[in-house]
């Protein structure tokens, strides 16, 4: 069991979701985040004050998949979420020691 965390651009969410379900992923959890990195922020001006906003809105996907599906899932995300512009985002993969479905108490792959 692995957890894939992918930080991507907002407007890529729909496509990525569809591609992933196509690739056999049954579920995912999405969080609104703000990201800071190489991508340059923008200036905002309010009367006298000027700010540089360098935390940019992104979405973070959390997808738990069986080890064997990780490669696929990651490749799918890269393929669909990439624009080639700085700011496309990152993918982080972590090990999970356990997964449980609350409704049934099932664990492991059955829980997905």
């Amino acid at each position: 069991m692995k957890k894939i965390e992918a930080v991507i651009r907002h407007y890529k969410l729909e496509d990525v979701k569809n591609a992933l379900t196509g690739a056999g992923v049954d579920g995912m959890t999405v969080t609104e985040v703000r990201g800071f990195g190489r991508q340059r922020g923008h200036k905002e001006m309010y009367r006298g004050a000027e700010y540089t906003v360098d935390f940019l809105p992104k979405v973070k996907l959390e997808i738990v998949v069986p080890d064997k599906m990780v490669r696929d899932a990651v490749d799918t995300i890269i393929r669909v979420a990439r624009t080639g512009q700085i700011g496309d985002g990152k993918i982080f993969v972590t090990d999970l020691s356990e997964v449980i479905r609350i409704r049934t108490g099932e664990t492991g792959e059955e829980a997905l």
């Binding site: 407007y11 729909e14 923008h42 001006m45 906003v53």
Partner: protein, 476 residues
């Protein structure tokens, strides 16, 4: 930027200079000059118009009506529209409405009113320089009697000017609904300035100027069409132009692929409610007096809005199983649009029928959009174009002598005056033609000169940040 230098600055200077100049030797208009305009451009004759003195009651009503119509553009329309776009464009839409309140008011004072309501220009086609810089518009007191001149019926002409100014503001603002979320702000400003000069002013002259060829109050009119409060001038013109805009500027990125739900329907509902309230100034104010005609318009307007609400939401309920608040609000606006030309010409009970038709027809029009595949983002055409046209026709059907003080002859189809249908049709045709052609030419030109759309990058980022360097909500 080049645009700003080339356009904004000169305008400012021009205004300051001329404003000044106009001020310096602004001659008190002769009473004669005023007399020339004693009959009101809009709507059927009003008994009061005989008496020349200022009526405090009528003046009070017209002052507040002017304020109400301004309120329709902002916060009314600004809220109604901004709630329908995505969060990242919320300020873009509001700014379009708000900035137009600024720039168009100045234009109207400088030359707009003169072009639209002047009678010294190109006859029934367009006004002249008579009222440039408000010359002969602002009140003065005659030495002898102390009476105010110039008047417009029982109110100072200056109030007629400022009241009509509010119509001049909201009409192009309605078009924003079509190109929302993707139009370049600079181009939007230039387009609006040209459109309001070349499309609105002539049309307003045709329909409302004393010598307009479509003005039902003008005995010499070629096709005296009923347009009490601006069905053709305001709604058909803006609605048709909106359609052309949607077609020429193209779809929003991701249109029909990703969901683009309204980001804040609470704003849309508040906006709709404010439009409803403001519309009393728009329609009942068009009586230019606080009289029984205004009362009739007030009631007819309210009932049409109510019926439209019930019809649209009801149609959704029957056809989709759920009535939506967006449907209810859209229905109210559709009803209001549709009753606009007839508010002072039909019996309020007919207003209910007109409202019901508006709700159902506009609902269908908005559904059709998907089939044709153009992206009229906020349905400016579906509601104002379709509703305005329907209203002009239904006004021809339901117009009745009963509500017009002193009218002796049959007015509408239902009273057997089928001829009026022709006048209405011509009025509609004229508005559609002028609006469509004018918009087409202007956009084609501007597309070549300065481009209509923001860059893809900017569109994805949203107009708030890319065009105005601001964010709508910062809730963190």
């Amino acid at each position: 930027m080049w645009l700003v230098r080339r356009f904004a600055l000169p305008t400012l200077l021009f205004l300051i200079f001329h404003g000044n100049f106009a001020f310096a030797d602004d001659p008190a208009p002769t009473e004669g000059g005023a007399a020339a305009a004693v009959t009101p451009p809009a709507n059927p004759p009003d008994p009061r118009l005989a008496l020349p003195d200022l009526s405090a009651g009528d003046t009070a009503w017209m002052l507040i009506s002017s304020a109400l119509v301004l309120m329709m553009t902002a916060p009314g329309l600004a809220l109604f529209y901004c709630g329908l776009v995505r969060k990242k464009n919320v300020l873009g839409v509001m700014m379009q409405c708000f900035f137009l309140m600024g720039i168009l008011s100045v234009v109207w004072a400088v030359y707009g009113y003169s072009l639209a309501f002047g009678t010294d220009g190109f006859g029934s086609l367009l006004g002249g320089g008579q009222y440039l810089f408000l010359k002969g518009v602002m009140p003065t007191w005659s030495e002898s009697t102390g009476a105010v001149v110039p008047m417009m019926g029982s109110i100072p002409r200056s109030i007629h000017m400022v009241y009509q100014m509010m119509f001049f503001i909201i009409t192009p603002a309605l078009i924003c609904g079509a190109y929302a979320e993707r139009m370049k702000f600079s181009t939007m400003v230039v387009f609006t300035l040209l459109w309001s000069t070349l499309v609105y002013c002539p049309l307003a002259h045709w329909v409302w100027a004393d010598n307009g060829w479509l003005n039902s109050a003008n005995a010499a009119a070629t096709f005296p069409a009923f347009d009490f409060a601006g069905g053709t001038v305001v709604h058909i013109s803006s609605g048709v132009s909106a359609l052309i805009c949607a077609l020429l500027i193209g779809k929003r990125l991701g249109h029909a692929q990703e969901p683009m739900p309204p980001h804040n329907l609470t704003y849309t509902c508040v906006g709709a409610a404010l439009l409803w309230v403001g519309w009393f100034g728009f329609n009942a104010g068009s009586a230019l007096a606080s009289n029984a005609l205004a009362a009739n318009a007030f009631v007819a307007t309210h009932l049409a809005a109510a019926a439209g609400t019930v019809a649209w939401a009801g149609a959704e309920w029957v056809l989709r199983g759920k009535p939506s608040i967006l449907g209810a609000c859209s229905g109210a606006v559709a009803g209001l649009v549709c009753i606009t030309p007839g508010a002072g010409a039909v019996n309020p009970m007919s207003g209910i029928i007109i409202g019901l038709c508006a709700g159902i027809v506009c609902y269908q029009a908005c559904n059709m959009k998907a089939k044709f595949g153009y992206d009229d983002a906020l349905d400016a055409f579906g509601v104002h174009g379709v509703g305005g046209t329907l209203g002009a026709i239904l006004t021809g059907v339901f117009a009745t002598a009963a509500v017009v003080p002193g009218a002796k002859t049959a007015q509408g189809l239902i009273e057997g005056n089928s001829g009026q249908m022709v006048n209405q049709a011509v009025g509609v045709g004229a508005a559609i033609a002028l609006g469509a052609i004018g918009t087409l030419v202007l956009l084609k030109t501007l597309d070549a000169v300065m481009g209509l759309r923001v860059s893809q990058q900017d569109e994805l980022q949203g107009l708030d940040v890319s065009q105005h360097g601001e964010e709508g909500y910062i809730f963190l």
